[in-house]
């Protein structure tokens, strides 16, 4: 009986195998075509960044001869060192604060029972989907009243708040999945609630913390609308709005310099991505996959 089944499985595998070989070429053709489409614009940007204006206006695709001197010029012209520093500072501070607060909130929601827990979780879920445009005008008005426009706090506050729902949601899911025994053992030893959280549970959530941190950092790093509205002074701009400002500056006429600035903006994140792919992919898809 089992040999009959095995034979039929083997036969169907052979048939599938033959068809698979036939289909293999088609699959590769589609995949490589799609891959070319998804990489072409980025390569085009790199190519433009190495041209001069005559090559650009001649509609060239390949920069021969290349003009690497665009890069030092872009570095100076876009004041990108300053932009990097502002972006790193704002993104990192917001990320660290959000991770700390959402780890606590996730622990509270995931492992403690208290009246009103459902309501708190409901607010977190609303925060997860609501468009941040709703807060744009009220925050602008309040930040202006407090004199915080054009300060790092004008971005750190909103970024912290708007990452919080995501962080809390992921951390709650993770804390919920941890075994009860650990907590109970610590409690019998007389540990207080905060000690249990900080010494026993938190160290176990390192993968979730890394996921949340990656997501939040990238979200802050790329954020545009708040940065555009709350920071209007050149010196305080972050990378996205700093690069955007180049569009309306004299460099718009010199597209290769702009393209070189775009490459300089993208390279650090892309290098980190290729080094820590798994971390990035998990971070960016965590909201969709952890259900």
């Amino acid at each position: 009986m089992s040999t009959v089944v095995a034979a039929s499985v083997a036969r169907s595998r052979r048939v599938v195998g033959r068809r698979a070989r036939l289909g293999h070429g088609a699959v590769w053709a589609v995949l490589l075509g799609a891959l070319a489409l998804s990489l072409a614009p980025g390569l085009y940007m790199v190519s433009l960044s190495l041209m001069d204006n005559p090559q650009l206006f001649a509609g060239r695709l390949v920069p021969v001869p290349p003009h690497p001197e665009n890069y030092p010029r872009a570095w100076v012209a876009s004041n990108i060192g300053r932009l990097y520093w502002n972006s790193v500072y704002v993104s990192t501070v917001s990320m660290v604060v959000t991770v700390a607060i959402s780890a606590m909130a996730g622990y509270g929601l995931g492992r403690l029972r208290f009246a009103g827990r459902g309501l708190v979780y409901g607010i977190v879920l609303v925060g997860l989907t609501i468009p941040l445009q709703i807060a744009l005008i009220p925050l602008f008005i309040n930040l202006r009243t407090l004199g915080l426009i054009n300060t790092p706090l004008a971005l750190i506050g909103p970024y912290t708040a708007f990452g919080l729902a995501f962080g809390t949601y992921i951390m709650k899911g993770f804390f919920q999945g941890l075994p009860r025994e650990l907590e109970e053992a610590a409690r019998l030893d007389g540990a207080g609630e905060f000690r249990i959280f900080a010494r026993v549970m938190l160290p176990l959530t390192r993968p979730a913390l890394a996921t949340v941190a990656t997501f939040l950092f990238l979200q802050n790093w790329n954020e545009f609308l708040f940065a555009l509205t709350f920071v209007t002074e050149g010196r305080m701009r972050t990378l996205p709005t700093g690069i955007y400002a180049l569009l309306s500056s004299e460099f718009y006429g010199n597209y290769p310099i702009l393209a070189a600035s775009l490459v300089l903006f993208s390279v650090p994140v892309l290098v980190l991505y290729f080094l820590f792919q798994q971390q990035f992919i998990e971070g960016l898809t965590a909201g969709a996959l952890k259900h």
């Binding site: 995949l31 445009q133 708040a161």
Partner: protein, 302 residues
């Protein structure tokens, strides 16, 4: 002295508030309060400059919006944006995920490369595509000329008829990799015994995909679509940088209209009304989708 159990229970309550308190305070200040403030502002007239908001006007701002052609244009564009973008994003992502879901050399490398546009900053992507669409020396028209399709060359962003499709294409390009990764993870989580059984029964690849894989994937396909719909309704950066809503409002969406009303026309009341409408739409879609998802999960469980 209270009994120990009561004290214990009280301590647990207090711990719950202590742990969630900071998050709750921040969410209240940056989320709940702005929602209330926006609703309030949407009922007033205000240029944003006088120290206090102007006179209470009731639903006048909403009435003005309903009578405003640009608002309907923006609403329609937002809907078109979502209706065109979501099926393409989920459909192409699913196709690529199915093709990658096999023993394939370099599968993990391909997945990594397909995800690159997701990691790239939207600002960078938008500025690149502006150049791709540039009518005279941009990549798209250059390539069309090179392959003998010069007749198709077109001022893609300058023509109101093609501007919105051109912007949507960028959005799809940026997000296909995201759908792909989620759906590929879903495919890899499918019960292998069911697939093997169908194969033994002689199902070919097409039948297997259509009759077995797709129904099993329905909840995760719905989830991917939900994320795409909500993301599509919120779209701002892409349109704002690429076309500023133009030419002649052909790419204006709700989020760009909100920004224009608030910070270019100083109509804080009208802009707040747009924000309230946008939030109402997004939250109702999220709610509908949550119900659909729950239903599909219950069907699955039954």
């Amino acid at each position: 002295m209270l009994p120990a159990t009561v004290r214990y229970r009280w301590r647990r309550q207090a711990a719950g508030y202590a742990f969630t308190g900071p998050a709750l305070l921040i969410l209240a200040a940056f989320l709940l309060y702005p929602i209330g403030y926006s609703v309030w502002l949407s009922l007033h007239e205000w240029d944003g400059y006088t120290p206090r908001w102007g006179p209470f006007v009731g639903l006048e701002n909403y009435r003005a919006l309903v009578a405003d052609e640009v608002f309907w244009r923006a609403a329609l564009n937002s809907i078109v944006f979502v209706i065109v973008r979501t099926p393409l994003e989920v459909g192409l992502g699913f196709l690529l995920a199915l093709l990658l879901n096999r023993r394939l050399a370099a599968r993990s490398l391909l997945r990594t490369l397909f995800f690159v546009p997701v990691v790239m900053s939207l600002i960078v992507v938008t500025i690149i595509f502006q150049r791709v669409y540039e009518p005279n020396t941009g990549l798209l028209n250059t390539v069309l000329h090179a392959v003998g399709l010069g007749a198709w060359a077109h001022p893609w962003l300058g023509d109101p008829a093609t501007a919105l499709p051109a912007v949507i294409a960028v959005s799809v390009w940026k997000n296909v990799g995201f759908s792909l990764v989620i759906l590929l993870a879903g495919l890899q989580g499918l019960p292998q015994d069911v697939m093997e059984a169908a194969r033994v029964d002689g199902a070919n690849a097409w039948q297997l995909t259509r009759r077995v894989i797709t129904p099993l994937m329905r909840p995760i396909l719905a989830l991917t679509a939900l994320l795409s719909i909500i993301g599509g309704l919120k779209v701002f950066d892409l349109v704002f940088i690429m076309t500023r809503g133009g030419p002649t409002y052909s790419t204006e969406v709700l989020a760009t209209m909100l920004y224009r009303e608030a910070f270019e026309l100083n109509h804080m009341g009208v802009a707040s009304a747009v924000a309230v409408i946008l939030v109402a739409v997004v939250l109702s879609i999220a709610r509908i989708q949550a119900l659909v998802l729950r239903e599909s999960r219950e069907i699955e469980a039954a």
